[in-house]
């Protein structure tokens, strides 16, 4: 019933789609609803984009790791970078707070991660990197409203 994977890739924006795709495949065995899948993909996309954009400023060199575990219908995913880190984590979590308004970042990343998952833990050391750990529980399977 359980499974785990690790994906590691470099800080290039084309890997955002790759990371979403991998994580969608990883939860396929859970048979999520369309809504659950699309919210989960959004959560992954936010965390991975942050690592690429904020952690490494898209340098194409820095390594990002995604470690994912499935235990029954619960997914725990950590997104790890070794980039610039976050000085003030509670400020970073505030809706609309962004350090890159000039790149049209909306400051909604952490708000979306929190709204679309059950738990978001942020562990960061300035100039050493950031680990964001997300927990999402999927509702028990029902015959209706499943992806086919």
């Amino acid at each position: 019933m359980d499974n785990e994977i690790t994906l590691s890739f470099i800080a290039k924006s084309e890997n955002e789609a790759l990371a979403r795709m991998v994580m969608s495949s990883f939860i396929a065995a859970i048979d999520p609803t369309i809504e659950e899948l699309s919210e989960f993909k959004t959560v992954i996309s936010e965390a991975v984009t942050n690592a690429i954009v904020h952690g490494y400023e898209e340098d194409g060199v820095g390594k990002i790791e995604i470690h994912a575990q499935r235990i029954d219908r619960e997914i725990i995913v950590s997104i790890v970078d070794y980039g610039r880190g976050i000085r003030d984590v509670s400020q970073a979590r505030e809706p609309l707070f962004t350090t890159k308004p000039e790149q049209e970042r909306s400051g909604m990343g952490f708000t979306i991660m929190e709204s679309f998952s059950d738990d978001v833990e942020i562990y960061s050391i300035p100039d050493r990197g950031t680990t964001v750990t997300i927990t999402k529980r999927f509702v028990p399977i029902q015959e209706s409203s499943r992806i086919v």
Partner: protein
């Protein structure tokens, strides 16, 4: 991702997004739309998300950015056909008031009234 940007008259642009809108893909679409708005005469931007399969907060940034450019000329932003997940994302960002439940055609017929003052 191939988007469709249709200009209706001098004042309306319809942007039909397709595929997945993330940080990677916003760059292209931004480069395409910004010059059109900077040109001056645009009063209404319609974002049709019918064929968009995915959007994260980069979409919020893209739409808010264009709203800011339209603000000086009191331009209008209209969002149609967001998925349930996109609706929630717009809601978190305070963009719900810009979502319309009408079809593109219905919007256009109403806009005739607004834009041309009929």
């Amino acid at each position: 991702m191939i988007h469709e940007v249709e200009r209706v008259g001098e004042e309306i642009i319809i942007i039909r997004l397709k595929g997945e809108l993330d940080h990677h893909s916003t760059t292209d679409i931004r480069n395409e739309i910004v010059p059109l708005i900077k040109n001056g005469s645009i009063k209404v931007l319609v974002w049709n998300l019918k064929d968009l399969n995915f959007m994260d907060s980069s979409g919020i940034g893209l739409i808010l950015g264009r709203m800011r450019e339209l603000a000086p000329i009191e331009g209008q932003t209209i969002i149609v056909n967001p998925s349930p997940t996109m609706k929630k994302i717009f809601q978190f960002a305070g963009l719900s008031p810009y979502i319309y439940n009408e079809s593109e055609i219905e919007i256009m017929s109403k806009l005739g009234g607004i834009v041309y003052g009929q």
